[in-house]
Amino acid sequence: MLESIEITKKFVGKTAVDNISMKLESGHIYALLGPNGSGKTTWMKMVTGLIKPTSGYIMYNGAPIGIPSRREIAYMATEPYFYDWMTIADVGKYYQDFFEDFSMEKYHTLLGRMELDTKMKTKNLSSGMMAKLKVAVTMARNAKVFLLDEPLNGIDLIARDEVMQAAIENAAPDNMLIISSHLVEELESVVDSAIFIKDAKLAGIYNIEELRQNEGVSLADKYREVFGHAVGGEN
C-alpha cells in the first residue's frame, strides 16, 4: 500500500504539490490526470525519492520511502535519461545490474513486440522509439509499484496499444500501476481509478465503473467537469 500523507513540495516561487493525502492499494491501475504543470511529475518523483518533500511524507507498506523502497518501486520519467553512450542492450544490462526484480527475458520479449533492436544507440532513437524503450525497460521489472510518467506521449497508435497491453499484462493483485497522462480517453478502459490533480492539489479520486454506474458519465466527462470545458481535449 502506498500512502501519501499531507505531502507538499515548494520550489522557489512555486508550490508544485500542495498537501496531497491519499491511499493507493495494490491490485489496481490508477490514472494520474491533470493538465501540464499540475504536479503529477513532482508527486511521482517524491514517491521514488528523487525529490525530497518540503513537508509531509510518503509511506510504502507502513514505512517511509527511502533507499530500500526503490527496490520495489519502478519509476519511468517522461524525459529520456539514459547515458549517451548506451545501446538498447546496455540499458537492459544497467537495469539488470541494479534491480534484482529485472527480467532480461521479459525485456527482450517487450523489445521484440515494440520492434526495437538491441544494437541501436539510445542517443539516435526517435522520440517514439525512446518512449517505447523506456516503457519496455521499466515494465521488464517485476516491481510492486510502477510509476509511468506520460508513457503515451509522442508515440503512435500501435505503440500505444503495445504500452497498454504491457500495462495490463503486468497488473497483478500484488502490484499497482500509476500512469500519468493527458490522454484521458486512452486510459479510461484500462485503469480502474483516476486521480485528479488540479493546481497542485488533489481534486478527487474516481472509480471509472462507479462513475458510469452512479452518474452515467465517462471519465472524460468527469475530467471536463473538474478541469473546465477548455481543458478536456488537451493532448
Partner: protein, 246 residues
C-alpha cells in the same frame, strides 16, 4: 557498489584512453630524440611529457567534477538516484574511481618520469653538463632520489584529491542548499576556495616541519590530507542523502 564503480569507469575511460595515446606518442618522440640524438625532439618530448603529466592528472580530476555536476543536474541523474543505492555509495563509487585514477595515473607519470630520467642519465652519463647542473640544483633542495620523487608525488596527489573532494562538496552544495538561490555559482566557488585556504592555513599552523622533499615529510603530508578529504566526503554524502532533489 562494484556495479556503481564499473559504470563510473565506463563514463571516464575515453578521456583516459586519449591521455594514454598522447603520452605514448610523446614518449616515442622523446625516445627518438634521445637515441636519434635529435635535440629538438628530445626537448619537445620532455617538455610536453612533463606538461601532459601535470595537465593529465588535473584533467582527470576536473572531469570527475564535471561528471558529478552532470549526474546531479541533468536528467541522467535518474540513472543513479532511482537505483537502490544511498548517496554514500553513489558518491563513494565516484570518489574511489576518481581517487584510484588520480593515484594510478599520477604514479604512472612519476614512474615514467623516473624511468626517462634514468635513460637520460645512462645515455649522456658524464657527458651532459646540463644534467649535472640540474642535479646540483636539486641537491640544494634535498636528496633527489626515486623514493623522494615518489613521496613528493604522493603529497601532491593527496592534496589534489582533497581539492577534488572540496570541489565535490561545492558542486553538491550548489545543487542542494544553494539551488535556485541568487549568486549560487559564485557562492559555491567562494566556499571551495575558503575551505582550501582554511585547510592550508591549519596545515601551516601544525607543529610539524613538513619538508615534502624527503620521504617522511612527503608521506606525512599525504597522510594529513586524507583527514580533511574524508571529512569532506562524509559531509557531502550526508547533504546528498538528506537534501538532494534531482
Amino acid at each position: 557498489m562494484l556495479n556503481l564503480i564499473k559504470y563510473e569507469m565506463r563514463k571516464t575511460w575515453k578521456i583516459k584512453a586519449i591521455l594514454l595515446v598522447i603520452t605514448a606518442v610523446l614518449q616515442v618522440v622523446f625516445l627518438i630524440g634521445l637515441y636519434g640524438e635529435n635535440e629538438t625532439a628530445l626537448g619537445i618530448g620532455t617538455g610536453f611529457l612533463f606538461m601532459t603529466a601535470i595537465v593529465g592528472v588535473a584533467v582527470i580530476g576536473i572531469y570527475s567534477i564535471i561528471l558529478l555536476r552532470n549526474d546531479l543536474n541533468t536528467k541522467q541523474s535518474y540513472m543513479l538516484f532511482m537505483t537502490p543505492n544511498n548517496s554514500y555509495k553513489i558518491l563513494g563509487a565516484k570518489a574511489i574511481e576518481c581517487g584510484l585514477s588520480v593515484w594510478i595515473i599520477g604514479l604512472f607519470f612519476t614512474a615514467l618520469g623516473a624511468l626517462d630520467g634514468i635513460l637520460v642519465l645512462e645515455k649522456f652519463n658524464e657527458l651532459d653538463s646540463l644534467f649535472k647542473i640540474i642535479k646540483a640544483m636539486l641537491a640544494d633542495i634535498g636528496e633527489f632520489t626515486t623514493p623522494t620523487l615518489f613521496s613528493y608525488a604522493a603529497a601532491m596527489l593527496a592534496s589534489a584529491l582533497f581539492s577534488i573532494a572540496t570541489a565535490f562538496f561545492a558542486v553538491v552544495l550548489s545543487a542542494t542548499l544553494l539551488n535556485g538561490k541568487k549568486y549560487n555559482g559564485f557562492i559555491s566557488v567562494f566556499v571551495f576556495f575558503a575551505i582550501q585556504i582554511l585547510v592550508g592555513y591549519i596545515f601551516n599552523k601544525l607543529p610539524f616541519d613538513l619538508d615534502m622533499v624527503n620521504v617522511a615529510g612527503g608521506l606525512t603530508t599525504a597522510g594529513f590530507y586524507v583527514i580533511p578529504t574524508v571529512i569532506m566526503f562524509f559531509i557531502t554524502a550526508w547533504i546528498m542523502d538528506n537534501k538532494l532533489s534531482v
